[in-house]
Amino acid sequence: MESQDVPHWIALLQPIADDEWIIAHRGSEWLGLAPDLEEDLAFSSINQDKMGHAQYYYALLEELGEKTPEDMVYGRSKEQWRHAVVLETAHGDWARLVALRYFYEVFDALRLERLSTASWQPLQDGVRKIRREEAYHLQHFTTWFEMLATGTEESRHRLREAIADLWPLLGGLFLWGPSEHFLTAIGLDSLRGSELQRSWETHVAEKMRSMDLPWPGALSSPVLDGRLGEHSPDMHDLLQVMTEVRRSEPAAHW
């Protein structure tokens, strides 16, 4: 890798690593609360997969000169995180979780598909393995999404409420920070936000049409752009909980 490309790869990987970590952390907070025992097992193992993916990206970032994975997760202030704001939001009901995970898994699958052509070999190797697990995650939440959409009047109502609640925040997933020029520099133009969003809308619109769910309209730019370090008060609460044990004894070796 050319040294002038290092900042480009960091700009690429940090939002992806943070997305995966934060969605996994929020997911882990459902432990013991999922609708049934089987889902509790399945969902926690999915979240563990995602933490593993984040760890892989953080390890690559460390190779590029960033902090250690531990410091990335436990040692950063709110403004230093680059995930999309929708992923940090406080919990609603299970329907909201299902909608969020379905929308995210579709987005992540499209992002990984394009990432698999990356010219940096260690990244390409990791993405190949990660995609095998992510296929299960997408399958799982597609099934849940369909079940709620076609289940009872209540499940369908809750799903529609959840979609309406999430929709204004989803645009934040497709942003890359101050500029997307770095994507051209490393040959990954296919990851441009507008490209990803077009594919995502095609896929999700088709699913929603088949489930007879109304399309809520074009995605808007979010009020807070997590890719620029802008985060909601929910992220403050999340960090307080996530780093609580670590902060109790910062010098301890885990």
């Binding site: 089987e38 399945a42 299970w94 099934t143 209540e154």
Partner: protein, 118 residues
Amino acid sequence: MALNAAEYRVYEVFVQRDASQFHVNVGSLRAVNSEMALQMARETFFRREEPCEVWVVPQDCIVASPRDSAYLPVHTMDKQYRLPAGYDNAPRWKRFKAKAMTIEEVAEEMATHKQGGA
């Protein structure tokens, strides 16, 4: 979300570990439909292995025998004579399978063994 236990079915989970083996029951789980049962089976039982095939079978589709002698065999007579016994080639066979011996070496060792009268 209000859950109605009656909407769930119990599925028995069977795994075939490779194409040469029978499907073996590994446990059961509850799921709302067979698609979900297959996904849950993967997450519950097969996180650390790569099975050849997985079956999920609704438990209420299984016909179980009553627990009485009309259906379950009881062996009152001595049927020892039916059982193959008295062979002690297992260690040799094991070594042969581990490629520690050729078939000729096994034959030779057996011949020597007999001559020695052990």
